[in-house]
């Protein structure tokens, strides 16, 4: 453990206990704790960050080793923000600091960050579980003025989650609760409700007095600020880490935050209010490190489209179009294909349109190769935010015509390729804990039976069901799963499609015919790519693309019998 030095900083009538560790010459991160914690809640995060940062923590006024202000008025946000600036000036007088805050620490840091000219002293701000009270006031007003069902639901849900705030405003009740047992029960609360394993030294021995005094934070600030919210903008780059299982702060509270914070980066973490810091400290430290490094090196936060995207079968068709669509948004795209040259060309085009492309030759039907590929991607580029299992082959033939070998080939690529992709990368995405999205390319054939597409339609139906099951499994990890069901799209899948029971020349003739039909239909792969990008943004579970795919889906619901009859048509 790196040595921690303590100093005292005087600010607006109180003495603040400040704790420093790490190399003072490195960029400074200032960690601000919430209620009812002290600087000790950051132990894991600080330890991790100290490797390459100058880490500074302090006990906010009234908590831990800092002195206690005289009255309620001394807990106003202006003073709390002044404390933050005082500490920043003391520990890093010449260089702006990176602020990281949680819970009430986040509320008071927002006050500092939205102070005019804050960008001169604060290099960046990473916030968890604590909105700006002024933004919150506007958020409530906006919803009350436009009481749509969705807005009303949001107000009710957040209201229900904020019950304790009301309780904290009642005389005697809250302090008595803490004194009479809640402080003693706190480890159990954390364990049972927050998923935090009990550990020595936490909660801090001073929790009872910290919790009781900290109630003044609520009483001094909540009502006045929410009632008369100010217009608070900031130029400081802000990284908002939404905790998916937070019991107190709902994810939708940050809707529209871009209005106040133009340079906003959104991240997600699969954690509860406290488990983020106490169980997933290194993950939080990793997010902070990524952000501060970026700001230190370029001065600019990452653009919203800067994701790591892995796409299989991206040497042509929908895969290539999808790679370009993500590339245009500034994503780093890892392209894999059986055809190395085609993959490299896609990677080159991705770079040309503003992203960063990397090409690999991988056979998706080879499980071991996919595992190795996933590991390689993780070491060379990191864990992907988006995985698109696109690689697939076409095959036409009735059930009795299709040989065992053909069945195997179709299932190996179309189904096993998706399974291997989801397994290899899904495990990495879950382990990272920052959510993500998996897109599987099914087909309209997944729900549109045809006697001449026995193997192909079967493989795609399996992909659709696999996606449904996987979506349920990964929902808790914040990983969305979308199945895309395109109809007839003009790609070279027709050029590589095989047909059962035909001679080589008949095959070529059929391929040409299919290619001409697909070309005449003229639906470009770029439109599918746009739907994929949209599905990643909105999390839409099943996305039929093209009119025929949508109609078939409806027909299958209205009259399954109709589709069963249509399946008998020889469409090959």
């Amino acid at each position: 453990m790196s040595p921690v030095t303590r100093r005292t900083v005087h600010s607006a009538g109180v003495d603040l206990a400040v704790f420093e560790q790490g190399d003072p010459a490195a960029p400074t991160v200032l960690l601000v704790h919430g209620y009812p914690d002290t600087h000790r809640v950051w132990d894991d995060v600080a330890e991790d960050l100290a490797a390459d940062h100058h880490v500074v923590r302090y006990d906010v006024r009234g908590a831990g080793e800092s002195s206690v202000p005289a009255g309620r008025a001394e807990y106003r946000l202006e003073l709390l923000a002044a404390d933050l600036f005082a500490v920043a000036d003391a520990v890093s007088p010449d260089r702006p600091v990176h602020v990281v805050a949680h819970d009430w620490g986040s509320l008071q840091s927002w006050e500092a960050v939205t102070e005019p000219g804050a960008e001169r002293r604060l290099a960046s701000y990473t916030t968890m579980s604590g909105p700006c009270l002024d933004h919150m006031g506007h958020w409530i007003r906006y919803r009350l003025r436009r009481p749509t069902p969705r807005h009303l639901r949001q107000l009710l849900v957040q209201g229900a989650h904020s019950w304790y705030i009301t309780a904290f405003h009642l005389p005697f009740l809250a302090p008595a609760g803490w004194r009479l047992g809640l402080a003693r029960a706190w480890p159990r609360v954390l364990r049972d409700l927050e998923g935090v394993r009990p550990r020595a030294g936490h909660p801090q021995p001073t929790i009872r007095q910290d919790a009781v005094r900290g109630i003044e934070l609520y009483r001094a600030n909540m009502r006045p600020t929410l009632r008369n919210p100010r217009e608070r903008h900031t130029e400081v780059p802000v990284q908002l880490i939404t905790l998916r299982r937070d019991h107190y702060v709902s994810p939708f509270l940050s809707e529209g935050l871009e209005r106040w914070v133009p340079r906003l980066t959104r991240r997600e973490l699969n954690a509860t209010h406290w488990s983020a810091l106490l169980e997933q400290g290194p993950v939080v430290a990793g997010l902070v490190r990524e952000f501060t490094a970026r700001i230190e090196s370029t001065g600019q936060p990452p653009a919203p489209g800067e994701k790591l995207v892995v796409i299989t079968g991206a040497g042509s068709g929908i895969g290539r179009a999808t790679a370009l669509a993500f590339g245009e948004q500034g994503a780093t795209v890892v392209v894999c294909d059986l055809d190395q040259v085609a993959a490299e060309r896609t990677a080159e085009l991705v770079t040309l349109v503003g992203g960063a492309g990397h090409a690999y030759r991988v056979d998706v039907s080879d499980g071991a190769a996919m595992d190795a590929f996933a590991q390689q991607v993780a070491t060379e580029h990191g864990v992907p935010d988006v995985l698109v299992n696109n690689a697939g082959i076409g095959h036409s033939g009735t059930f009795l015509q299709t040989t065992e070998k053909e069945w195997q080939r179709v299932l190996d690529v179309n189904l096993w390729g998706v399974i291997h992709g989801c397994r290899a990368f899904g495990a990495l995405m879950v382990a990272r804990g920052r959510g993500g999205h998996i897109v599987n390319l099914a087909s309209a054939a997944a729900y549109l039976p045809s006697k001449v597409l026995a193997a192909y339609a079967t493989s795609k139906a399996a992909v659709l069901m696999l996606s449904d099951c996987l979506r349920a499994e990964l929902a808790d990890s914040g990983i969305g799963v979308s199945a895309i069901c395109p109809g007839i799209v003009n790609t070279n899948i027709t050029r590589t499609s095989t047909f059962s029971g035909l001679s080589a020349s008949e095959q070529t003739a059929k391929q040409d015919r299919a290619a001409r039909l697909y070309a005449r239909r003229g639906f470009p792969p770029e439109k599918v790519a746009a739907e994929i990008v949209k599905a990643v943004r909105t999390g839409k579970p099943v996305v039929p693309v093209t009119v025929e795919a949508k109609l078939a889906r409806w027909a299958g619901r209205i009259s399954p019998g109709l589709l069963r009859r249509a399946a008998r048509i020889n469409a090959g």
Binding site: S316, R320, L324, A342, R345, T346, L349, L352, V353, N492
Partner: protein, 277 residues
């Protein structure tokens, strides 16, 4: 049909083509942000007439920005020069077809103002198509198969076939010495009256031989390259950027070659290669 142009005829065709490219380069040197397509075609027209051009195979065209890739083209009227204003970083294409004494040229000139990395890449890759088309025609492959080979190369590059937007989806068309007596300088739907008359005659006479003076991907082009002169215009696009060249390909009974290699796009490739070497 036999190849019936003398060396002197070919020289005249080459001169007109040089003249056309020379004028396009003059316009390219003059063009700058703020200019509209219509102003560019007017300038091109004036320049050509000043050089002694007496008729046009078709009226000059200019396309700016995403119009170089024919994005959102729904009617043939959209081919005509419009009020699009050139802006910094935009690509542009000039296309003109001057006639001097019946000798016709039909050229396409792609350019850009300011920096445009996508255009640079396309301009470089265009070389592949010039070589591919010549190789395929020399092998006397049917014209529709040459068209398909270009399409396959486009797919490999990840580009779009934009010549399919031209009327008839043509990648090229035959050019003959224009001997029509229709009035000069009159145009109908953008094509010179003399062009229409000559082309109409060609369409009918070639049809009788099971061939077409238009080179596309349909059944009509399922024949070996007809001896004569072909204006070949592969037009490739990627996202909002399109580029083309158009020049005359000489096809004799047993040989094929580009009429002239001393053209702006060829010189650009040569200088790029020299810079890389």
């Amino acid at each position: 049909m036999a190849f019936d142009y003398s060396a002197a005829d070919l020289d005249r065709f080459r001169e007109v083509q040089q003249l056309a490219y020379h004028c396009a380069e003059q316009v390219a040197a003059w063009i700058e942000p703020g200019v509209t397509e219509r102003q560019a075609t007017q300038k091109l027209c004036r320049c050509l007439v000043a050089e002694g051009v007496d008729d046009f195979f078709h009226v000059p065209f200019a396309w700016f920005g995403d119009r170089t890739a024919f994005r959102h083209f729904h009617t043939p009227l959209q081919f005509f020069a419009g009020s699009r204003v050139l802006q910094e970083g935009m690509p542009y294409v000039l296309d003109c077809a001057p006639v001097v004494d019946g000798y016709t040229a039909d050229i396409g000139y792609g350019g850009k103002v300011g920096a445009n990395p996508v255009w640079d890449r396309l301009a470089q890759d265009l070389k592949v198509y010039r070589e591919l088309i010549l190789r395929e025609v020399r092998a006397r492959r049917p014209l529709d198969e040459v068209y398909a080979a270009v399409d396959a190369q486009l797919a490999a590059h990840g580009y779009d076939n934009r010549h399919q937007v031209y009327p008839g989806r043509v990648i090229g068309h035959q050019v003959t010495r224009n001997t029509s007596r229709a009035p000069k300088g009159v145009n109908l739907f953008g094509f010179g009256l003399r062009t229409l008359q000559t082309l109409g005659r060609e369409l009918i006479s070639e049809r009788l031989h099971g061939r077409s003076p238009l080179w596309a991907d349909g059944r009509a082009s399922r024949h070996a390259p007809t001896p004569g002169l072909w204006a070949v215009e592969p037009h490739i696009g990627f996202r909002e950027v399109g580029i083309k060249f158009e020049e005359l390909l000489v096809v004799t009974e047993d040989e094929a070659y580009w009429l002239d290699d001393d053209l702006p796009h060829v010189r650009r490739w040569t200088s790029l290669e020299e810079a890389a070497a």
